[in-house]
Amino acid sequence: MQKIPSLWIGIIGCSMLAIFFVFGPYLPHVDKNVTPHSYVVGPESNLDFILPPYTPNKDFLLGSDKHGRDIYSALIMGTRGTLTTVFAISLSTFLLAVPLGIAAAHLTFFRLLLQAWNYLFSRIPVFFYIIIVSTIPFFIFSPHRAIWMVSFLIIFELGKVGDVVYKGVSLIQKTTYYEAGIISGSKPYGLWKRYYWPGCYPQWVAYFVQHLGSMLFLLGQLGIFGIFISQSLAQGEHPSYSIDNTALVWPMFLFDVLIDFDAFPWIPLFSSLFITLSMFSFVCLGEGILDYHLRKQRGLISIRPPRKPFLPRLRKKVTANVKL
């Protein structure tokens, strides 16, 4: 395990994210409510107003956005919203895709279903589909927009993930040791436990972690165009209603980037840096898990023999765990 740097980088990065997720509000300098500041009194006198956005300074570590919200606090507090969304999408995709992929490897009907699904939704960028769908007025007004958007993402991703699962399972079905398992009379449960699971789960776990990264990427791309998972209508000074992003998520600072970028580059830069770093830890963790299992399969990582009991037992003899 010491020799796999990617695993370490991934674990460290993901545990940082976990810390932000759990202890975010209690970290130093974090403004729990991400309050917008309409002005800040300057050093000269009480009449010295400074209007947002603020450049990175002592009070606003990473600067603030146009509403005077501290970007550092918003990013840390946004970890919950962002990671929950990304997790929800990836987890439900996998919960649907794994049974579908396995069924496709065994039954013709499901294989055809998976192929058709894949042809329909995986031959055109998901990004394009989402943009077309999200601008239909029904989904703009729907109070359950977040649920709709997440379900669309799941539908569009399902074929791709299912295909990976299917390929992994059918690769095992082609091996000779699998045939030997059938000939020696393994029941489906035994086949599943001893043949599919050990071969497949590192691949699935790694793919899941990387899928998280790619979903984050997609959400970032959509954020640039002002398309968010959860939006609401709010009336300001104008008679028209503005469509606002309601959830505190990282991509929200990418919106309006063409206007921001020239004058306040820190707004998009820091939020995309956050996205990049978390994508990096996801990618590294995925690679690391794969690498670890590859080494384990090749016997480069020794499986520790069970420790001798402290007090000698009378009857039971300790035998080494032999893994198939």
Partner: protein, 313 residues
């Protein structure tokens, strides 16, 4: 299944997809609102008559004018398609070639120097890093550094728009980076899988130089494996195209499609939310035609490169 049947089946599925997209685009976009207290309650107003009317109108226009319709700029869609297609293709094709070339070279580099510590860092380490950098971050970073450099005496160059002769240069670089690193990873994986095969050992035992074994024997057998990832890479390029064209203000297909879709940031109560339907249909179809072509190329290459021709896919 022979090649022709495969091509035909992907054409059929393509027609299905195109129909679905056209039907989605032609959905009526009327809204209704009523006032409760000081708030307008807005909702989507869907009627089958309107939908039918939209579809009938569109196809009527297509039939009578023998064109895909006129856009909001009073231009026939075809002329706009040709105009923007020319602009985008000089970005897309070089980006594809560059990312494949650079990606395979990087993959081989990673593989070749994986035994050394420094090689591992500059090889696989940078590949992980590259895969984790979304295209928009790369664009922000480059633009920030270049503008800072230009403030300090670096010669002024145009990073945005499409007015100067070299304006396609930045989009090509931005677009090709992310796919290149992904290809590098796939290449590395394929090389590693191939490494333990018997024919490699035979070649080495016969005294073929290491370099020739790597470039000719191993890599040659990796191409069919890499080809499996051809379509995902193309998809990556296309979805990257939207972002890159938008952020570099390069007016190509992606930019035009986004403007035609009219993403709303504010709405009036009760107003319909129209989109430039003929333009959206035209440009989506163009995108899909390009993707179909890529699919066909993929299938043909698969057929040609497959050593066991006629195996199931």
């Amino acid at each position: 299944m022979n090649l022709f049947l495969r091509l035909l089946s992907s054409l059929l599925l393509w027609v299905c997809m195109a129909t679905i997209v056209i039907l989605i685009v032609l959905l009526p976009r009327d809204t209704v609102s009523h006032r409760v207290g000081v708030k307008d309650i807005m909702s989507y107003h869907f009627t089958w008559e309107n939908y039918k009317k939209n579809i009938d109108d569109y196809f009527e226009e297509v039939k009578t004018k023998k064109s895909l319709g006129t856009t909001n700029f009073e231009q026939p869609v075809e002329s706009e398609l040709l105009f923007y297609f020319k602009r985008s293709i000089i970005v897309l094709l070089p980006a594809m070639v560059l990312s494949i070339f650079f990606g395979i070279c990087k993959g081989v580099f990673d593989y070749r120097f994986q035994a050394y510590k420094l090689g591992q860092f500059f090889g696989r380490g940078t590949t992980w890093m590259g895969q984790a950098v979304p295209d928009f971050f790369l664009i922000f970073l480059c633009q920030t550094f270049l503008s800072m450099a230009m403030n300090h005496g670096f010669p002024k160059i145009h990073m945005y728009g499409n007015d100067v002769w070299y304006s396609f240069f930045f989009p090509i670089i931005f677009l090709s980076m992310y796919p290149a690193f992904v290809i590098a990873r796939y290449t590395f994986q394929a090389l590693e899988e191939e490494e333990e095969m018997d024919y490699i050992k035979t070649a080495k035992a016969k005294g073929v130089p290491e370099r020739v074994v790597l470039w000719k024997h191993i890599l040659g057998n990796c191409y069919p494996k890499l080809l499996q990832h051809f379509m995902p890479i193309i998809l990556m390029l296309f979805s990257g195209m939207f972002v890159v064209e938008f952020l570099t203000l390069y007016h190509g297909i992606g930019w035009r499609l986004i403007t035609a879709i009219h993403i709303r940031y504010s709405i009036m109560a009760g107003e319909p939310l129209p989109i430039d339907a003929p333009a959206v249909i035209g440009f989506s179809l163009l995108l899909m035609v390009l993707l179909l072509l890529a699919q066909w190329i993929n299938q043909i290459l698969n057929y040609v490169l497959d050593p066991k021709r006629g195996g199931d896919f």
